[in-house]
């Protein structure tokens, strides 16, 4: 029983990491007032960029760099549309999701001719798992041993980066001048503008931060979790991250717990597939798939606390009336 639990929690950590990265990405963007439903597309673009470059160079770090580059590029398109051109942010996000879905499959087929996938990675093209010190020695200690050697040790570097980003994001948002201004621009851009700070530049920086984190999230999927890019491999994770962001009420600490919860549901669904639960019987796998969304809707409805988005989110800033 304990071993099973450790196994489920272990896969929870692996499944939550990309959600967490994407969720924090959305956090930067939305806290600055730019709504981003294009997380999915940016992750997918990054997964493809990372998979392709990691294959060509056999270097995971270059893959990560390329993936991040693709995601930042898409983020800048979103920024250009929604900040500079004051376009509809939802529409822009939808467009980016479509673009990424189509381009990755099209270019994947053109360049690698494997039905839209990138060739399988091996060796240096992937991020391997890291054994923390004394993991092997600790393994035999009861309770703490398995927790340390299975749960905490033995993940790839991007998992640790994902979880390290939580306190870092908190610190940036709530303890730095940049963070204060970023939050202010999401609540009341006119006040920030009056203080002589460029709303446009601040929001662009937030959108770029969002791109970087989405890039890591997408790269994680193709060159750390799997060994190569597969067509539409994000499979809705960007939207789950968006749900987690709302569930977390736009706070970094909560974001981690929300992503762990949604990752846990995912891990549980995989574990319970085709198995009977005593007293309940077989739970359809679709129930677990829908649960994150159902929970988020219930939260949004105000039945579990209240999720209030940043005040200026989704509203383009117009400096002066023309």
């Amino acid at each position: 029983m304990f071993d099973t639990l450790i196994l489920i929690l272990d896969s929870t950590v692996r499944l939550s990491a990309p959600l967490l990265l994407a969720c924090l990405a959305g956090l930067y963007s939305e806290r600055s007032g730019v709504v981003d439903i294009g997380l999915e597309g940016k992750m997918l673009g990054a997964a493809f960029g990372a998979g392709a470059v990691a294959y060509l160079t056999a270097n995971a770090w270059l893959g990560l760099l390329a993936g991040t580059g693709v995601a930042v590029g898409l983020a800048l398109v979103h920024g250009f549309a929604s900040i500079t051109n004051r376009g509809n942010q939802i529409v822009s996000g939808v467009a980016i999701n479509f673009l990424a879905l189509g381009l990755t499959a099209l270019l994947g087929q053109t360049w690698f001719r494997q039905g839209g996938r990138t060739p399988s990675l091996s060796g240096g093209g992937r991020f391997g798992n890291i054994e923390l010190p004394f993991a092997a020695e600790m393994a035999h200690v009861p309770v703490i041993g398995p927790i340390y050697s299975e749960l905490i040790s033995g993940h790839n570097i991007l998992v640790y980066i994902a979880f390290a980003m939580v306190p870092l994001t908190w610190w940036i948002l709530f303890r730095t001048r940049f963070g204060l201004r970023l939050r202010a621009v999401g609540e009341n851009p006119a006040a920030v503008d009056t203080a002589g700070i460029s709303v446009t530049w601040l929001r662009y920086r937030a959108v770029i931060a969002c791109g970087i984190l989405c890039g890591i999230a997408g790269s994680y999927l193709s060159i750390a979790q799997s060994s190569g890019f597969i067509k539409d491999m994000t499979a809705g994770r960007g939207y789950i991250a968006l749900a987690a962001l709302i569930f977390a009420k736009w706070k970094p600490g909560n974001a981690m717990w929300a992503c762990l919860l949604f990752g846990f549901l995912d891990a549980l669904a995989i574990r319970l597939q085709g198995q009977e639960i005593p007293g309940i019987g077989q739970v359809p796998v679709q129930f677990f798939q829908a649960l994150p969304y159902i929970l988020t809707v219930i939260l949004l409805a105000g039945f579990i606390g209240k999720a209030i988005p940043p005040k200026a989110s989704g509203v383009p800033y117009l400096k002066e009336r023309t």
Binding site: N85, G87, A95, G102, L103, L242, T296, L300, G302
Partner: protein, 368 residues
């Protein structure tokens, strides 16, 4: 005419045309990037979608889907609501259509089944839009987010039903049994002399879609409710002072929107597939956003842009056949670019045009 304003024909004709041209230009660059000739690709695309009867048939079939989902998004737009849940509403609407067909197809001809199927699709689609609408109206949760969530919840629900509940007995396929004659809409081909539309599946749902356009036009511009919807969309605060109930408008508009999306299933399920199957909506709901944007939320514009997207789908299929390097994913890219340029970057070329037109007008003003 004050500064910053443009003549109507520029706003409603020239700007969409320029945006579309920009989207196609970038698409052409993508085609170049994968090493094919864009001009040749355009020729194949237009020939494949309009060059012969069967191609026209498929184009119109796709356009029928787009008219329904486009109208759904447009109606919500008029109330200032963004219904991005067309995908889920159409999917669940399919359940309503299929239930009507499965219940009646053994006993009655199609024209008796049709009203029940229309009712089923509309009611199920509307029901799927009702919860997000109610949550927006009563609990203040944003309709964009809840409709996204409902797309996924709908997909999970339909997946469960199709796999475990209503699939054909004794079959592993996640689909219902095939409807009998009484649950099938006649193809247009069978109603017209000759064999113009070939094997294409364009069916009577096209007529239903055009009727839906008339319905939406009358509703929005010729009824009291439509006036209230537009007032609420233009200025919710003023609407409240005018005695319009936001709760009522939000819920009714979203339910009409969801119902229209649900009717898409008439074309796809009753008209073409003749059975309910997994993922039959396959993006039509999302593309409805692009259709509504390009059509400026007006039924005439929606029909035109639905035909354009129908052409893209059919011509794109032809293209992937003729030029294997250009897979069907190219259509998704073009859609993305159209949504980007016609939707999100809608105003990109506007300042330049405003400048151009005010410059052109200045001498005239001085003379006057």
């Amino acid at each position: 005419m004050s500064a910053g304003q443009l003549p109507r024909w520029v706003d409603f004709g020239l700007i969409p045309a320029i945006n579309l041209a920009a989207a196609f230009l970038v698409s052409g660059l993508v085609v170049l990037l994968i090493g094919e000739n864009p001009i040749e690709a355009v020729k194949i695309l237009i020939w494949g979608s309009l060059g012969y009867g069967e191609g026209i048939g498929f184009t119109l079939f796709n356009a029928t889907n787009f008219i329904f989902t486009g109208l759904a998004v447009a109606v919500a737009f008029h109330a200032g609501l963004f219904n991005i849940g067309g995908e889920g509403q159409a999917y669940v609407g399919g359940l309503g259509v299929a239930l009507a067909c499965l219940a009646l197809d053994h006993y009655v001809p199609w024209w008796v089944t049709l009203p029940f199927a229309v009712l089923g699709g509309a009611v199920f689609g509307a029901a799927w839009a009702f919860i997000p609408a109610w949550l927006q109206a009563k609990r203040g949760s944003h309709v964009v987010i809840t409709t996204i969530m409902f797309n996924f919840i709908g997909a999970a629900l339909m997946g469960y039903l199709l796999v475990d509940v209503i699939s054909k007995p004794g079959s592993m396929q996640p689909e219902t049994r095939t409807f009998e004659e009484g649950g099938r809409l006649p193809l247009l081909d069978s109603l017209l002399p000759g064999d113009f539309f070939g094997t294409s599946q364009v069916n009577l749902a096209l007529i239903l879609a055009l009727l839906a356009c008339v319905f939406v036009w009358v509703l929005i511009w010729r009824t009291r409710l439509g006036y209230e919807i537009r007032t609420f969309g233009a200025n919710p605060t003023a609407a409240v002072y005018a005695g319009i109930s936001p709760v009522r408008i939000i819920i009714i508009t979203m339910m009409i929107s969801g119902g229209l999306a649900g009717l898409m299933a008439i074309n796809e399920i009753m008209g073409a597939q003749n059975r309910l199957l997994l993922e039959f909506v396959s993006g039509y709901g999302f593309v409805g956003i692009a259709v509504a944007l390009m059509g400026r939320a007006h039924p005439v514009g929606i029909v035109l842009s639905a035909i354009l997207f129908g052409m893209l789908y059919q011509g794109g299929a032809e293209l992937s056949f003729e030029m294997p390097a250009i897979t069907r994913d190219m259509i998704v890219v073009i859609q993305g670019l159209v949504i980007l340029f016609a939707g999100a970057l809608e105003y990109m070329f506007r300042p330049a045009l405003v400048q151009m037109f005010s410059f052109a007008r200045t001498p005239a003003t001085q003379a006057g």
